[in-house]
């Protein structure tokens, strides 16, 4: 029985679910742009909006601990890098907050938009551009959004199998990273090899 986890689409009947694919994509771009440009009050309003969205969509945050940790680390690194350059202050904190809000928007968006819908919406919005490979990019987007959650699921299973053999007792962070990353990368390459063969077999 599958558990609902990071980047998984979850069927529903919310307002966001009922928007057409292109509408969701435009909304994503608008909220992302607002997140990246807003000042303190704007960011507070966006936080309220995303909180409301989270309460309605109920993404499985409990199953996203790794991804949320990643977002926090990235935001921290961003702030650290900015602070070294400009000194620590409000703009540095705001940039880190913006990053987290954009990440949060992405989580809500993928919760309410099916991968195929996102790919089709991208194609709808871009096919008028001459010589632009909209169809091909649609396939790439759909494949990426379909297989990313599967890879995350695999990663969770790898982690569970390792914990079953008491891996959590290892305290060395390098060893812990190695045993998490190595099987995951190995699995990703094997899976991508299978996918590319399956696509080649159907003349992609």
């Amino acid at each position: 029985m599958a558990e609902i986890a990071f980047l998984h689409y979850r069927p529903g009947r919310t307002l966001l679910h009922r928007l057409p694919g292109w509408g969701k994509l435009l909304l994503l771009l608008a909220v992302t742009a607002a997140c990246s440009r807003s000042a303190l009050i704007g960011l507070a309003l966006l936080t309220a909006l995303l909180t409301t969205g989270s309460l309605v969509l109920k993404p499985a945050l409990g199953k996203m601990k790794g991804a949320l940790m990643f977002a926090l680390i990235m935001a921290g690194l961003l702030a650290f890098s900015d602070a070294r350059q400009f000194g620590f202050g409000t703009p540095v904190i705001l940039r880190a907050v913006r990053f987290i809000l954009i990440f949060w928007t992405g989580i809500l968006f993928t919760t309410a938009a099916h991968p195929a819908e996102i790919g089709d919406a991208f194609e709808t919005l871009t096919r008028w551009i001459p010589h632009f490979p909209a169809r091909r990019l649609n396939t790439h987007i759909t494949l990426t959004l379909t297989f990313l959650p599967l890879i995350m699921d695999e990663s969770a299973t790898v982690d569970r199998a390792a914990r079953s053999r008491c891996f959590h007792r290892r305290k060395n962070p390098l060893v812990r990273i190695r045993y998490r990353v190595e099987p995951l990368v190995d699995g990703v390459f094997r899976k991508s090899d299978e996918i590319s063969r399956a696509m080649a077999a159907r003349c992609y």
Binding site: K58, K63, R165, C166, R169, Y179, R190
Partner: protein, 245 residues
């Protein structure tokens, strides 16, 4: 006074997100040295149940006792006592050689190097893995992978071996290899719990069968009692119990 069962699951319930119940009031027990089959169709909750048996997942309600002791009070000891062999062996492998893969568990337990080498050698001899020791686990055949996955658990000297769909994706030779690994283990006194929907390959060896459907235990008894009615629960009834018997 009677000894407590090896493992007791009492009124276990578990729901995932949005209160989707996966396990509902599940209770059963396993005795020492038994070979039990937990059968159910896809999505019946078998794998989720397995993940609870050594504390990888926490139930919403209910409890699991190992030899009368609640597993949450046992710390890491329960992971050693109840060994889980996952359905997809590739996802269980974390090392680049079979020898290192076998040593992974005991190394995590912090055993001395000499003891780890000794255990790995014992399991290697027991399962006939000598020729595979320097190979990459991911490059082995299906049956070999499953034997290495079982070996990776046996080195931790469990009292109960739980295997999730051990025959999935294996050809006849692979199934034969797995059964020839499990039968001697059982004869030596190892308790086995096979989680499967494929009864034809293992029903002949089991002494107890449990049917799980939609997260509930529906039937429990000897294979002779259970097999005639299994199709009611979406499980194929085996025509003959001939595998290695």
């Amino acid at each position: 006074m009677n000894n407590p069962p090896l493992l007791q699951v009492r009124r276990l319930s578990r729901s995932f997100d949005r209160n989707v119940p996966v396990l509902r009031d599940v209770s059963f027990s396993l005795t020492e040295g038994s070979w039990t089959i937990l059968a159910g169709s896809n999505g019946s909750g078998k794998t989720v149940l397995m993940n609870h048996l050594n504390g990888l997942e926490k139930p919403d309600k209910g409890e699991i006792l190992f030899r009368g002791q609640k597993i949450e009070t046992m710390g890491d000891e329960i992971r050693r006592r109840v060994g889980l062999v996952f359905q997809n062996s590739d996802l269980q492998f974390v090392e680049q050689t079979v020898a290192r893969e076998l040593a992974f568990g005991p190394t995590n337990l912090g055993l001395p190097r000499r003891k780890i080498e000794l255990r790995v050698q014992e399991v290697c001899d027991e399962l006939g893995l000598e020729k595979l020791m320097d190979r990459r686990p991911h490059t082995l055949s299906g049956g070999e992978k499953k034997r290495v996955a079982i070996g990776g658990i046996l080195v931790m000297e469990p009292d109960l071996l739980v295997l999730d769909e051990p025959f999935t994706g294996l050809d006849w030779a692979g199934v034969d290899q797995v059964l020839r690994t499990l039968i001697p283990l059982h004869k030596k006194g190892m308790s086995l719990l096979l989680i499967t929907h494929d009864l034809a390959k293992c029903a002949a060896h089991s002494d107890r069968m449990i049917i799980l459907s939609e997260g509930r235990i529906r039937r429990e008894g000897t294979p002779e009692e259970i097999l005639p009615g299994v199709e009611e629960w979406g499980i194929r009834r085996p025509e003959g119990l001939t595998w290695l018997k």
